[in-house]
């Protein structure tokens, strides 16, 4: 086993592409080290990307925000501009693990770990976030929902690294929110989760909407019908009930140690309602 800390993203991609055995990217390590401890992975090469210039930064650009792959989630919460523009994304990122894990974990790691229950992913999908994917001599930008393809599986090719997550700058009258259900108040993996992102028109009606659900299918799902229900509404009681129904119906959950099919279906609808209500209020809706 080797541990290497490259200084450029190109070197990192090259190392990964050129490795003969199992190679792993180390950013926060909060998933990788747990898998190593459990014996689920024994990498031959660990590529620590934290020394790569720029990867540990959040950059504000004309188009919005670029969050580097090595930025710990705790730092997202400390960035007031990001917090103001995308409170739902930030609250989702801040829900990952404990304070201890917050100091290490990253939203890119959360995305690439490809768990259907990943906290930041429904919020990122709802936000329409994009991932910058760098490979040996390649660079492409894709929608975040295109990264995970199933539990623990991604669309990334050997040697590819997600360098950053891009979030658009905010239109007026916009708001997002993320809610998850866990049995305790902290330290749990989401049993069900919902991310909602809304923009309102001048009358306070929903103009555009994106809603994503977590832990109810093999990957986080973007529920198109939910957006259709929301658009044009002022989130009256009937709309919220329809939203809940559509979201419950969109679930394809399983029974496991964390919850039952019935529970996940029901609670997906409840969380969608509640997250939509919060996002609506954040967008200035009344």
């Amino acid at each position: 086993m080797r541990y290497i800390r490259p200084l450029s993203i190109e070197d990192a991609a090259g190392l990964l592409a050129g490795s003969a055995g199992t190679a792993a990217i180390l950013a926060g390590g909060s998933d990788l080290l747990v898998r190593m401890k459990g014996g689920f992975i024994e990498p031959d090469l660990i590529v620590d990307i934290k020394a790569i210039d720029g990867l540990g930064e959040i950059r504000e650009t004309a188009e919005g925000f670029s969050i580097g792959a090595a930025v710990p989630c705790a730092v997202l919460g400390e960035n007031t501009a990001l917090q103001k523009a995308w409170p739902g994304v930030v609250e989702a990122a801040k829900l990952i693990g404990s304070k201890q894990v917050q100091g290490r974990c990253t939203i890119v790691g959360n995305l690439c770990n490809a768990s259907p229950a990943a906290d930041s992913v429904p919020a990122l999908v709802a936000a329409g976030a994009k991932a910058v994917v760098v490979g040996p001599g390649t660079r492409r930008t894709i929608a975040v929902e295109a990264v995970p393809t199933g539990p623990g599986k991604t669309s990334l090719a050997k040697g590819e690294i997600v360098e950053a997550i891009l979030l658009d700058s905010r239109l007026p009258r916009s708001g997002d929110a993320y809610l998850r259900f866990i049995p305790r108040t902290e330290m749990d993996i989401a049993v069900v989760s919902a991310g909602v992102n809304l923009t309102l028109d001048e009358q306070g009606r929903v103009k555009s909407a994106r809603l994503a659900l977590g832990a109810v299918a093999p990957t986080v799902i973007l529920v198109e019908e939910a957006a259709e229900v929301l658009i044009g509404s002022k989130l009256d009681e009937a709309t919220l009930e329809r939203l809940a129904k559509v979201c419950s119906g969109a679930c394809r959950p399983i029974d496991d140690k964390r919850g039952t099919i019935e529970f996940r279906r029901k609670v997906a609808g409840v969380l969608a309602k509640r997250a939509a209500t919060t996002a609506y209020a954040r967008a200035g809706g009344k």
């Binding site: 259900f181 305790r184 330290m187 140690k257 019935e262 029901k266 609670v267």
Partner: protein
């Protein structure tokens, strides 16, 4: 000198104060040494290979490849731990649990172990051990295991305690029965009867420190064992017997212990570590991973309980009955029996009958967990009691007060009670402001009572007085939560000297006589009795020495407030001699001054508690929040009240976790799905409110200061108190613990649907 353990009322100087514990600074600076914090020169790393199957015959184990791996110094299987138990069935079960002999009986059962130069080599070696399993059908559910069609876990088990000896083996090892009166007649007199079935899932003690030990066996037959344990003397006995060693040649030192709650009263990997060290000829350190702790140590029983209680319109219970089925893991136990004994212990009953069934399942061996078996029985009984009060139209507290046991009541398990605290705890709850606080929407209040026996047992304490008058107190009961502080207070009280003048230590097995474990809430009860006795013996010596110094008869010397005083007018010119002055002269008056005590501390007082809690339920998700929690419990006498409160709060918190979220989840394959703190959800700080406590002191007549045990009773009421609160908040009776959100939501939906 004959020691008189009877209670004598007195005014205390030290007992009842709240000084800082003697082991405190080491624990806040990281210097305290726990099981895994000790190392020996040349030490190897031990690791255990565990069965992935819930039930399988072990056809063959091939260790040859592992043995050839560079850095591997020993590989052992059951063959290296030959059966020396000589027909002792209980010891054989311990041996088999430490290392599977013919069959692997649960997911996580040890089948082989290695000692290697480092962890990586040890891990690799485990992978090279080839075990040929024949997988057998398994059963993990307690009710399923009782069915005739269930796979047999041990075909030599024929149920004990039946009127007719069974002709076929089964998974039920024993039936036991308790009670008195005639329940048929009693139910005949009832105007209201409540009958319900309950289930509770298996939980783990959840101590934060995994089992850890360092074993060092010499070729001369002597050995040392450093280990985190609740009872190093018992560990010595068990290890010595299983390894064929002489007990006195095995010195066991108890490390600081990072929680036990009953889980560290059983040997698990310690005999394995000793066997590895013996084979390798080097010290071996063996530390369990968290996954191993869950899969292969500790858990309590899963249960299935039926309860029937009848009462007259006036609120008098006329009959009570319960059938309790407790899982034991794959080895015989007495868990249902304890449940059967404790179930109705809070009440004064004319007609009562409880029947317990001990049930084998393919799960880890059931171990004691804080008032073992009592919380589940209390959950079932106290839920039914609440429901019955509701049917009659009585306040649940009043209903319990009306039926509470008192001095002179025949307990449901047999003996007649002496002075007890159930009535006072109920009266205190009735008058507690918590009971009158307003509740909001979706909020409910519940209360429940609990009982635990408390134990005494064999205890040995040495008290040595230094030449400077400082006192070292050597005790043999492991300090699990501040007992060195409380025992120092007791020594200070008896000797009449300041607490700070005393240093208490837990002595190793070669430095002190045998002590039973710190279990059954006995630590402070028993060791304080032995400390009082040792101090009184020391005082006798101090008086003799003072008499020598004054050259007067010892009968004229009394001990008061840390001083020898010559009694009588003729001695008016003699100034009192302090303990320090007598100690300073000890070299000339007969040598070292000490007091010793070896005794069986019997007469531990039974203990009762009543808890109140408020819960909010989210009716859309089944989520719960504990809003407020109050514990009222009888301590007999609180020696160090802060640590008594700590025991009350800690037991309540464990009970809250059990009630709401903690459970062993097995897959269809018989494998444990959640062997980690991520999905075995013990309460975190943000899950709980402050836990208010009220200490009652109803003296135990069988202890000089009136002390009862306090450690365990606090985990008995929470399951029921929370179930009653959730039921009141959600408007539906909860019968399955834990009341996880999916279970609560399903119950609410079923109620709405029905």
């Amino acid at each position: 000198m004959n020691f008189d353990p009877r209670y004598s009322g007195r005014n205390f100087t030290s007992v009842g104060t709240r000084p800082i514990r003697p082991d405190g600074v080491d624990k806040v600076t990281g210097r305290a040494r726990y099981g895994a914090d000790f190392n020996m020169a040349g030490q190897l790393v031990g690791r255990v290979l565990r069965s992935p199957h819930a039930h399988a015959t072990i056809r063959k184990i091939d260790t040859s490849k592992a043995e050839k791996l560079a850095g591997v110094k020993a590989v052992i299987t059951a063959a290296d731990l030959p059966d020396l138990t000589d027909g002792d069935a209980a010891m054989y079960d311990i041996l088999d649990n430490c290392m599977a002999r013919k069959k692997a009986l649960y997911d996580g059962h040890a089948v082989a172990a290695v000692a290697a130069v480092d962890a990586r080599t040890a891990r690799q070696a485990l992978k090279l051990i080839e075990v040929d399993y024949e997988v057998l059908p398994h059963v993990t559910d307690v009710d399923e295991a009782m069915k005739h069609s269930a796979p047999l876990i041990n075909d030599a088990i024929f149920t004990e305690g039946l009127e007719q000896k069974p002709v076929k083996p089964s998974n039920v090892t024993k039936r036991t029965q308790y009670g008195h009166g005639d329940i048929h007649e009693g139910f005949g007199q009832a105007d209201f009867v409540v009958e319900r079935s309950f289930k509770t899932e298996q939980t783990h003690q959840g101590y934060i420190e995994p089992h850890a030990c360092v074993a060092n066996v010499s070729s001369d037959g002597t050995a040392d064992l450093w280990v985190c344990t609740q009872g190093h003397f018992v560990y010595r006995q068990h290890c010595a017997q299983l390894l064929g060693m002489e007990a006195s040649k095995l010195r066991v030192t108890s490390s600081e212990i990072g929680g036990g709650f009953g889980g560290k009263t059983h040997v698990w990997a310690e005999p394995v570590a000793l066997a590895l060290s013996r084979k390798a000829g080097r010290p071996v350190k063996l530390v369990m991973t968290r996954d191993e702790v869950f899969r292969a140590s500790g858990p309590t029983s899963a249960t299935s309980i039926d309860v029937r209680i009848g009462a007259r319109k006036d609120g008098t219970i006329t009959a009570a009955e319960a059938t309790l089925r407790y899982s034991c893991g794959p080895y015989a136990g007495t868990w249902a029996e304890i449940g059967a004994m404790t179930a109705f212990a809070c009440y004064k009953l004319e007609n009562v009958r409880t029947v317990g069934y001990e049930v084998l399942v393919n799960r880890p061996k059931t171990a004691a967990y804080r008032a073992p078996s009592a919380p589940m029985a209390a959950f079932a009984v106290e839920s039914a009691v609440d429901e019955l009060a509701k049917e009659i139209g009585m306040d649940p507290v009043e209903f319990r007060i009306r039926n509470a046991a008192q001095e002179g009541t025949r307990s449901s398990y047999g003996p007649v009670y002496g002075p007890i605290g159930i009535g006072p705890t109920l009266e205190a709850v009735k008058n507690h402001p918590h009971m009158k606080a307003p509740l909001g929407k979706n909020q409910g209040r519940g209360m429940a009572c609990g009982f635990w026996f408390n134990f005494g047992g064999q205890t040995c304490t040495d008290l040595n007085i230094g030449m400077d008058g400082s006192v070292s107190l050597a005790v043999g009961t492991v300090d699990v939560g501040g007992s060195r502080a409380s025992l120092s207070l007791v020594a200070a009280e008896e000797l009449g000297i300041p607490y700070e003048q005393i240093k208490a230590v837990v002595a190793d097995t070669s430095s002190l006589g045998y002590n039973d474990m710190t279990d059954g809430s006995r630590g402070t009860f028993s060791s304080s009795m032995a400390t009082i006795s040792a101090a009184r013996n020391a005082i006798k010596v101090l008086r003799e020495r003072a008499a020598q110094m004054w050259d007067i008869p010892v009968d004229d010397v009394v001990w008061e407030k840390g001083h020898a005083i010559a009694k009588g007018e003729k001695y008016d010119n003699l100034a009192a001699l302090s303990l320090k002055e007598i100690a300073a002269a000890s070299g000339k008056t007969g040598g070292p001054i000490a007091g010793h005590s070896e005794l069986v501390a019997d007469g531990a007082g039974v203990s009762f508690a009543t808890h109140i809690c408020d819960i909010e339920v989210d009716p859309e998700t089944g989520s719960t929040r504990v809003l407020r929690y109050t514990v009222v419990q009888d301590a007999g006498k609180a020696v160090h009240p802060t640590y008594v409160e700590g025991q009350y709060q800690g037991g309540a918190a464990q009970g809250i976790g059990w009630a709401l979220n903690e459970e062993y989840i097995y897959g269809k394959d018989g494998r444990l799905q959640n062997p980690g703190f991520l999905d075995y959800r013990i309460p975190v700080c943000s899950d709980l409110p402050m836990i208010d406590t009220q200490i009652l002191e109803i003296p135990n007549p069988n202890h000089p200061y009136g002390v009862r045990g306090v450690g365990e009773t606090s985990i008995v009421p929470p399951l029921a108190a929370i179930a009653n609160a959730v039921s009141n908040a959600a408007g539906v009776r909860m019968t399955h613990i834990p009341m996880s959100p999916p279970r609560i939501l399903a119950a609410i939906e079923a109620e709405r649907g029905g």
